[in-house]
Amino acid sequence: MLISFSICSTMLHDLLQGTDTGGLFIIQDSGSCSGRRLLWSFIKAALNRTEAVHVLSFEVSEDELKDGLKGSPIERLHFHNAYSDPLAWTGSATFTVDQFCVEKVTKLIKQTSQVKTAILAIDSLSWILRHISPSAVCKTLQQLKNGGCVANVIGLLHSDMHSRGTVGSLCHLATSLITVKAVLRGDQAMITKRLKSGKVLQGEEVFTIKDDLTVIGQGKPSRSEPQEQMCISNMADPTANLTFNLRLSESQREAKEKLALPFVFSKEKKAALLHTGSGRIVYEPDANDDYDQEDPDDDLDV
């Protein structure tokens, strides 16, 4: 089945082609919009390009991942199971969260594949961040990115699970950052891409993902999306067709605008109330007033 894409190549599709190396892609999602299927689309695109893909999975089982990637060439997919026993509670651990450091991850990848153009997908970084400090995770990701045992690293991050500082630190490391959120027409991706020259490209696109994990671009997000939900387009003029007159003539409108409202504190009123400079307060004590400043209670009969 031939699927036609929009004529202009979108940033999202460029990222899916994956031509750069030494990159860290982070997909940020939240509870209301999951980025996992977009992560799977990246995995599928890499498999289709005949690259080896290592998936370090904490949050989904192998069956669920392979079910999601149905129809893709999964011979080059290496699944590293950190889902069954990441904390070594049941004694069946193949990879625990404590082992997330550059030496052990590199060893894991080299054991199963010697291919240079390998991609490492991590599902998810949030799981690791719950057990390992953000600085250690950032250090490991930076070393993996520059280490050379994998060409690119892609991670899924649940941004609503961590403080802004942690999310910010990780996103700062990323060469490409995709934030997904749900909108009416599909999912909206806000993409930030840092090129090696130092230039930063940003874009927003709406996309949907089909069952076979193909990403279909739906174009730019329309600015009036929030107003669509309010449905006040094409409202009729309410002052038409009435038996009484609600409109104002020009002279009436001018008079209305000139009118000073009673409780508004304008410049003229302020000047009228304040006597600047020429005032003096004169106090003449009455017979009943006690003018003795030293003892204010002197007039009490106690």
Binding site: S84, S126, S163, A182
Partner: protein, 273 residues
């Protein structure tokens, strides 16, 4: 078991999907009626049920289930229901003079910071034990927890609860192809929007569990206030893979009766129509 909820979720005791993690949550309302529904549903379906009850005693659940037509005592005697009565079991740990030794499941009370590995081991052993029992004709195993916010109040951290729910999902949903239903009650405090990750309470736990679950039912009171005929609204969010990738979200109003609950689309309450 509420028939209308079954038709909304498109399930029946004879036909339901397995490997599901259902999250029931509420905010300034009470979602425990949904837990009674699922308890009755899975017992009627013939599943092996493990119920971790931290909020109420066994007699409470038994009395409510009786009204819904399910006999918990009988299910417990038959071995279909394994019931952990948290309130009872914790007495021996909380009272140092008590000579009885309670279940090891509640050992986390001695050291809440250490995590819920003991509770998980109780769950997995009770599920494994009943799988090996002589009656092999049982349905898939089901775990029900009432409720997770109790664990937070007892000093267990949000991360420890998320680890526990992860392991329950791994063991029961993925390995044994069963279902897990957990109730979480949020206290409705406005968390600091500036730094959501540092909030160590029920809101962060709710967000974490939302990422893990496959079906989320969130109960809230009506935003417009109290109503005699409508007790609240349920937001149902189906996170399973949908064609087109978007999650399916639906909102219903409900009214809880003496012997059940009725669900209807917003605006179609029988008092209004």
């Amino acid at each position: 078991m509420f028939a209308e909820l079954n038709s909304i979720l498109n399930v029946s005791p004879e036909h339901f999907s397995t490997g599901e993690f259902v999250l029931l949550s509420d905010r300034q309302s009470d979602a425990s009626f949904l837990l009674h529904h699922f308890l009755g549903f899975y017992l009627r379906a013939g599943c092996q049920v493990c119920f971790v009850a931290l909020a109420q005693s066994f007699s409470h659940y038994s009395a409510v289930s009786q009204r819904l037509g399910v006999n918990l005592s009988q299910a417990k005697e038959k071995g279909q229901l394994v019931f952990l009565e948290g309130l009872q079991e914790s007495l021996s740990i909380l009272n140092p003079h008590d000579a009885r030794t309670g279940s090891e499941a509640m050992d986390f009370l001695r050291n809440p910071g250490a995590g819920l590995q003991c509770l998980f081991q109780f769950v997995s052993s009770s599920v494994d034990h009943s799988r090996g029992a002589e009656d092999g004709g049982r349905g898939p195993p089901v775990l029900l927890v009432d409720d997770l916010s109790m664990l937070l109040s007892l000093g267990v951290g949000v991360d420890a609860v998320l680890d526990f729910s992860h392991y329950c999902r791994t063991a029961i949903c993925s390995q044994l192809k069963g279902n897990v239903v957990m109730l979480l009650r949020c206290d409705g405090e406005d968390d600091d929007d500036d730094d959501v990750g540092s909030d160590d309470g029920s809101e962060r736990l709710l967000r974490g569990l939302t990422h893990q679950c496959s079906l989320a039912l969130h109960v809230q009171s009506l935003p417009t206030g109290y109503c005699r005929d409508i007790h609240g609204q349920v937001e149902m969010c189906d996170r399973r893979r949908q064609a087109g990738g978007q999650q399916r979200k639906m909102t219903f109003h409900f009214k809880v009766h003496d012997k059940g609950a009725s669900f209807f689309a917003p605006g179609t309450s029988s008092a209004v129509l």
